[in-house]
């Protein structure tokens, strides 16, 4: 076979220019435009308005003053409280991401490998929670973790505890519930990321004399790592933007960016500060996603 690049090309005498009829261009525009307008109104415009709002001033009585100031960012970033809020938010995300990945991994691996005739049902069971309102599941967790809840009730009925322990109304409860609520995302991300995994690779490693542990560390884990990364990022991102669960289960103790944004927007009516916090959250998100892309790039190299 002859390789292609070696042959010199005869250059044609005609100017090489892509002719495209105006009609076709109009057609493409017609396809794109309505959806783009919809997304602009429902997504871009709000972000623009919000960014603009973040430079406004919150008057002393709560009035809104149209101006251009960095005051809100100054306030948010010079105040250790908000640094702590940012820290809490990241911590919540890391912890939820990590725990969800650890718990989702065996399930995902199991679902990828199983040949059970119940496979479909088992996948549906793992995913069904995803399709259930987060409000409903948070309610379920309140019932399980509350002072009067199932766990405390059980522990006290069996005499293991004299008084209830605080599972709800604090960070631990929020994390437990969020891990469960977001786990299906991790499972899904992993199942689809485990495409490269197949039993014969592991068997091959096994026949080459690797121990089970070695097979896992050298074959299974590296092959599944991209899926794990994606799952982690997904849960991380979803948990740092979660609101319903921290709000209902946080007991007023869990201060994260999402709850602060909501409080400032609807309780204190400090829209400029709420907007500035949102922009910070957005930037945090942007950095993370960029970081993730760098990471996966490096990983793929």
């Amino acid at each position: 076979m002859v390789t292609l690049q070696t042959t010199q090309l005869r250059t044609g005498g005609l100017p090489v220019k892509e002719k495209r009829s105006a009609k076709q261009r109009a057609g493409t525009l017609g396809l794109i435009l309505p959806g783009s307008i919809g997304l602009f109104v429902g997504f871009v415009l709000p972000l623009i308005v919000m960014i603009r709002m973040s430079f406004n001033q919150h008057g002393t009585g709560g009035q809104l003053v149209e101006t251009l100031t960095f005051e809100n960012y100054g306030r948010a970033l010079s105040d250790p409280f908000y640094w702590q809020v940012i820290g809490n938010t990241l911590w919540l995300g890391l912890l939820c991401g990590g725990l969800a990945v650890i718990l989702a991994y065996p399930i995902a691996l199991f679902l990828t490998r199983t040949t059970s005739k119940w496979k479909g049902v088992l996948i549906a069971l793992a995913i069904a929670p995803l399709l259930t309102s987060a409000v409903a599941r948070t309610y379920g967790w309140i019932a399980i973790l509350g002072d009067q809840g199932i766990i405390n009730g059980f522990l006290m009925d069996t005499g293991l505890l004299s008084g209830p322990i605080r599972l709800n109304n604090d960070m631990p409860g929020v994390i437990i519930a969020l891990v469960e609520i977001l786990m299906p995302y991790a499972i899904l991300a992993m199942i689809s990321g485990f495409g490269r995994l197949n039993n014969s690779l592991e068997e091959a490693a096994g026949t080459l004399g690797a121990s089970r542990f070695k097979v896992f560390m050298r074959v299974t884990l590296p092959l599944t790592l991209p899926g794990v990364f994606t799952g982690f990022l997904l849960v991380f991102v979803l948990s740092i933007s979660s609101f319903v669960t921290p709000r209902l289960m946080g007991g007023g103790r869990v201060f994260i960016l999402a709850t602060e944004v909501y409080n400032e927007a609807t309780q204190t009516l400090n829209w400029p500060l709420a907007s500035a916090l949102s922009v910070i959250l957005l930037i945090l998100f942007g950095l993370l996603v960029a970081g993730y892309q760098q990471l996966t790039k490096r990983f793929e190299d």
Partner: protein
Amino acid sequence: MSTNRRLTRNKRLLTIGASIVAMGTLASCASSGGGDADGQTTITVLGYTAIFEDNFTQAVIEGFEAQHPEYNVEYVPSQNSAEMLGKLRSEASNPTVDVAILDQSVANTGIQEGVFAQLDEAAVPNLANVVDMGLNAEGYGPAMTFDNLVLLVNPEEAPEEISSIQDLWDAPDNSVAIPAAPDIQGIALTALTANNLGADYQEDIQPAIDELALLQPKVTSWDPQPDVYQTVTSGSAQYAVGWNARGQVFSDQSDGRLQVVQPDDGIAFQVNTINMVEGTENAEGAQAFIDYTLSKESQESFSSAMFYAPTVKNAELPEEVQARVADPQDPNIVEIDWIWMADQRDAWTDLWRRTVIGG
């Protein structure tokens, strides 16, 4: 699955999908109809949701409509005062609401922003009966209800009786529910604590904040969900601070699991004002409605239903009700300047988060 079978099924599903959509569209058409055809003028009233809405409708709106058949009141429920102000702000150029009932401090922000209108004394003759502390100096909406901060106890679960705010500091760990600032219950508690420490809350709030921080281990939730009344009734918290009016109502429904205690070391009032919205096309109706809410009859009826203290001098409550509402003449009253407070709420909230809750 063969493509074959899948495709026939798809066709069927597509049909189902289409009919669902068609049904949805029909339903939305049906619901958009309506409107009053009987020549009445509608007065739109914005106020609190849930239990307030129920009682206010029964005790006030129905009475007003009976007395003024030419009017028809539409009540728009809202989660809280801030949300009401947000809505009014957004509609400033074209208000859909005529009258709003909201917390005094939030109302004051609205007044500063020009959301509310001054009342015409002639159109609201009952203004003359409003107690002094209920009147707005510049002629904006007066107080419609007085409420006060109380202690809530679940007598079945609570190890000890309490009678004063200070007793909260002796409560067992993990037993108290306090709605933290920016909720005005937390704000009021701060003022009462300052008062108990012998400090003037307008001068220096730090001692009170430091004192409240000591409550940290006692508190099970700083943001009780559901509200404090349910939290105490269910036993999730044994003690709480809450408002008298709601506390009394829920106490009656609780089979004795919720007890309201008027603290003997300080009564903090909360004021809901009733305001006419600036730019309303229906100023006459709005003021007629406001006047009615300040009438002896309406005040008595609403107080009996929900245990708010009346804001007019001429209201006379039955004794069993009188005993359960705060008395504006009570010597224990710690006067709170909610208008001054409106400017302090953010600062206090910050202190709460940093020091009291230790966020």
